[in-house]
Subunit: 376 residues, 4 copies
């Protein structure tokens, strides 16, 4: 094989002027720099509240659907069958609304041989799905195990040496619909539905942790979910979506069989103020940031992905915080603002993707951090 | 002279359990560690919104008035004639509500001689007032010049070698009341009132800048106020208070004639993400913070005081922010949250006093930072 | 007996200038119009958010404690053993912050005889308490039944002919504290704690309904609470308070043995827009309101007390509302604003006391309304 | 004349399931009940905050542009040249998000003669524009006079007998862009720009008032704008839009030469609680509402349009309100919630279009109300 036919993932990080601004991707397509067929996923932050009445994500996804639909020759509503969108509302504080377009060109070798290996591993990405879930499975072992199975299947596709090459599993977690009667029947059977966003996020993260060896099978049970936060993934990032029957997965890894100039790394932040944890991830990717961050190094950063949570114990580093007793502003907005600010200050880039609610995503009060950079 | 009779300023930083929690100071007084007569000022952050309907400051000050009034043998309403309170609402994100009690014991030598000088300068604090202002003076040269005069008078009391020893002038800026008819008459005279919070803060800061040599007299005029932000103070910190006829000033400096273990330093942050600026102030005070911050060094920090502002140009470090176009959450809450998060992460302490609106306090989008630490 | 020795309840409705403004009551006491010993309760609306970080209630109650403590010769912290305070935060929209001071003078005849009866019934008020609750009793039949017992005991004290004379039971519902271990043990026993605000409010209301014949004993069970909203009280008004071991009750009724000029009536509003329901209560009290309301009739109104709730079905009068899908502003603030506006417009008075969360207080989406007026 | 060739305006009020829901209009078009060419304007309320970061209006208008563009055979971005959209964000409280589609079919007779007159006047609607404005004209007499001219031109097109037949002028007010240098030059000339939303709304309303005889020419001057609120229109409804060079106008009137079943009426509400004012408008249109409103009469209501404002004097009906001192929730949201609630309760319909900021729209604290109903 030759590099010309190998797999290459490219990523383009566009600052947006508003939620529906897709001019960055449009320019790429218009100039022929990217083919619509190669766009594999788009992740972005929009300037909404990240809650139920956040319509900014709809604006962004609608604009992408119309742009890509026209280029792909499919109706807008069919675009999301081909391209995964993951938009998170809430650009609190200094966060710059932005979207990152991932383009996957070429393919991994069918039967990779040692001769196909590059000197350095490079970013690869794959898309997968779980089977459809029953409401009673959500938040329990069946969801964990099926998610783990789907992750392991993805790992096979990524061309990685082992699970340690996988650094981010971005998920839209299933929350199948159900009737009130079904819920009551389940409660009577002694297995009340856990079919909500928190449970779906928590079980999805534990599924990733199981697949990638972050937790042991024998440490998991229905009881652990949303209860024993010692068990978590540092790689998962899940948002749950009511009405979704199966979980969508996006896996990012480094592969010795991939070309391109991008690499991914990850780590876990122990709390919202964990500057040392951020530096550790950066160092692992060869970034020499300094304070203030060296602009040349900052320019190597392509994507920053983290999960935030206001520590439920009411303290950060042993001192009281007030995020959870404020009835004017949601703790989700505060925790995103805090972590985004610390990331932006440390990394020198305000285009950070921090989403919130982090059950079993890193330890209580902390969360996972993944970064994609241009290799030197 | 002997150290026993010298001036000593001590400071006690208490985490509070709620806005009216004064148990920290009560304990100090009950245990005889501090005499009520020596309490010179209390600065604190309370968990309100920092706006017009923030009643948490009233709770804190009312509780202090009752506690200190009983110990001083004066009615609660007379306490603020003796002790200056400066409370700022808004503990967004990880900020821990807290209050810092400053105690001043002994006195500077009446006629200081070289023999009175200590090897190292130590914290000193003094309280002063401007004369009462007319509404038409606010936001114009008369306010600037009278504020400068009051600052210079304070400098004389502080026992400092020169203005460079002064590191923080905390002010409650005057906003005298006026009638609609007076305002209309002023407008007809071609000198419309600027008697509002923004102008009073801006002119107060410029007054400090003039007094301490940060700006030149010839660069100032009525036109400069709230217009030419190249002129600013890195030492001022002003909140304006409607109904106040004169400005209250609290000056913090280092003096070679003071004892105690505290020192103050300051610097200017170029924007909300200026980690290097924070490190510079810390280094100037001999703190070896590291990342993560060394707990032994963090324990030396007694007070952190800063001003924040969402950059009016709509960008931070060249990229768009959305703080100024959000009609659900005020930019004051965002800018406090961002700077507090960055300070807490960098300094390892969530008890940071960040207040907002920073006209002529540091450059556009940036602001002053002062820190008080225990000398090694 | 003679009117001179009879029971008389007077009520004074003071508009406040801020949460800590008790000048209205102070004036009454200073002028000798009311004796501190006769103040039985104070109900009020303060301009906070009505949530966890609403400190306006503390300001109001602290100011009342200091005022009444000085007049009663007891420490401020002992005042609430003698006088019941019921403050509700949230004066959304046109609501005027206010407090209503109830003064009870004289006493009911010990052994009332037909000769003691007045031509018309007049307002009477009494204070009572349940026994202390165990955490496992909250939200279940034991809380319902003990609340009912306490209400029936109060009815005996009120000098009423029968339960139909009782028009408002204002409660602070118990929520005893418990440990995590206790909660887990209860869950293992198959009776998980319901020890939260919603359950305590719901069971308190059902207790009132049981005592006053609004529901039948056989229709109640643990399962009904927060589940079958066909069962409710039109007389209860409960706010639950974490840490409170027993429920405090304030009963308002009309008695043939009471003097004074006040009368109370109540009704149930079917939804937030039930103008006809408001008119029905007003008419029942002899008010001839008209549209616009006749000022002379409006002046007869002394107190208006209601409970509001955003209909959980997502509709009002068959059409969609968006109160429950807004993550910027709480539905509690919206529902209070809506009902307060409709009450103020219909009754011609902006001093209305609407508190929110109305589980088993009136039908789903509706709630109870009580009014106190000066008899003609 | 014949009905077949006459003008007929029909209106369809659709409850929406979300901001981008245009299924109501789509159904009309799909079923052939309405031709896209006849759609003259769409007014609607969407569930945003009504502020700068309200993207719900964009969603609604984008969806309409795509739907109508496809049916009209023009690109989506050309639709607003043919159809006027007026969307207002903010469905606080019980307001049901909805849109009202106005369809104009046929035409007025070219040279109307007495023989063309119908027995009863019916709704007619016309669209117009001012010329483009210079920034210095906004908020001053030139904007007032040009707006008046445009209104008078529209009156000619409406087929009305005299200005008293005109009941609603819905406007998007011009706010041309300008440079900082232009603003400074204007200030130096002694005529500082008033080119903001408040001034554009105020001058637009005064322009309507002048055209329709609500104010006299000699009572108007630059000084009156945003200053003397005795002068106002009860017919204008203006939202200003930054970047718009000319004002768009939509005029609704009753004409003796129009067919159809709709009629419009209007009145002025003296404050947010003016139930009598609402009843007066309803009665003027022959509605017999009652309390509760008679459903048969409620069903005759097709559109309700009002402007709200929190009274700047801080009181409603002589008592304090707190809408203007709340830094958590904007007074715009409160005033819309209050007036919407009162309208919905009085009229029995939650589909009310209340927009906020009402400078010179009705008296201080009050505002105009227009209603469109099906004639009996």
């Amino acid at each position: 094989m030759s590099g010309a036919t190998g797999l290459r993932v490219r990523a383009f990080n566009f600052e947006t002027r508003g939620p529906g601004d897709v001019s960055g991707l449009k320019g790429l397509l218009d100039r022929g720099e990217v083919r619509a067929e190669d766009v594999v996923c788009v992740l972005g932050k929009t300037e909404g509240n990240g809650g139920r009445n956040d319509f900014t994500r709809d604006l962004a996804m609608g604009a992408l659907e119309r742009l890509l639909g026209a280029r792909l020759g499919v109706p807008p509503e069919a675009v999301q069958d081909r391209v995964v969108f993951s938009f998170s509302g809430g650009t609190e504080g200094v966060v710059t609304p932005h979207m990152i377009v991932f383009v996957r060109e070429g393919a991994l070798p069918q039967a990779p041989s040692p001769a196909d290996r590059r000197a350095e591993k490079r970013l690869t990405v794959a898309v997968g799905y779980t089977r459809e879930f029953e409401p009673g499975e959500i938040g329990r072992m069946p969801q964990i195990e099926e998610t783990a199975r789907a992750v392991q299947a993805l790992v096979q596709e990524l061309g990685v040496d082992d699970p340690s090459d996988v650094h981010l599993i971005q998920m839209k977690g299933a929350i199948p619909s159900f009737t009130h009667a079904e819920a009551e029947a389940a409660a009577r059977r002694g297995a009340p539905f856990r079919c909500d966003m928190a449970y779906s996020r928590g079980a999805s993260a534990l599924g990733v942790a199981l697949a990638l060896g972050e937790v042991r099978r024998e440490d998991l049970s229905d009881e652990v979910v949303l209860s024993d936060y010692r068990h978590y993934s540092a790689i998962a990032s899940c948002s749950a979506k009511p009405g979704l029957r199966r979980t969508e997965l996006l896996a990012f890894a480094n592969s010795a069989y991939a070309d391109g100039e991008l690499q991914i790394g990850h780590g876990v932040l122990s709390d919202l103020l964990d500057v040392a944890g951020i530096h550790a991830v950066a160092r692992g990717l060869g970034l020499q940031l300094g304070a203030p961050p060296d602009p040349a190094e900052v320019n190597r950063i392509v994507g920053v992905f983290a999960k935030s949570e206001a520590d439920a114990r009411g303290t950060v580093r042993g001192r009281r915080h007030t995020m959870l007793s404020d009835d004017d502003i949601s703790d989700t907005r505060y925790s995103r603002c805090v972590l985004s600010s610390v990331l932006a200050a440390t990394l020198g880039d305000t285009r950070v993707y921090v989403s919130t609610r982090a059950e079993h995503h890193g330890p209580q009060g902390g969360g996972p951090l993944a970064m994609i950079v241009r290799a030197r």
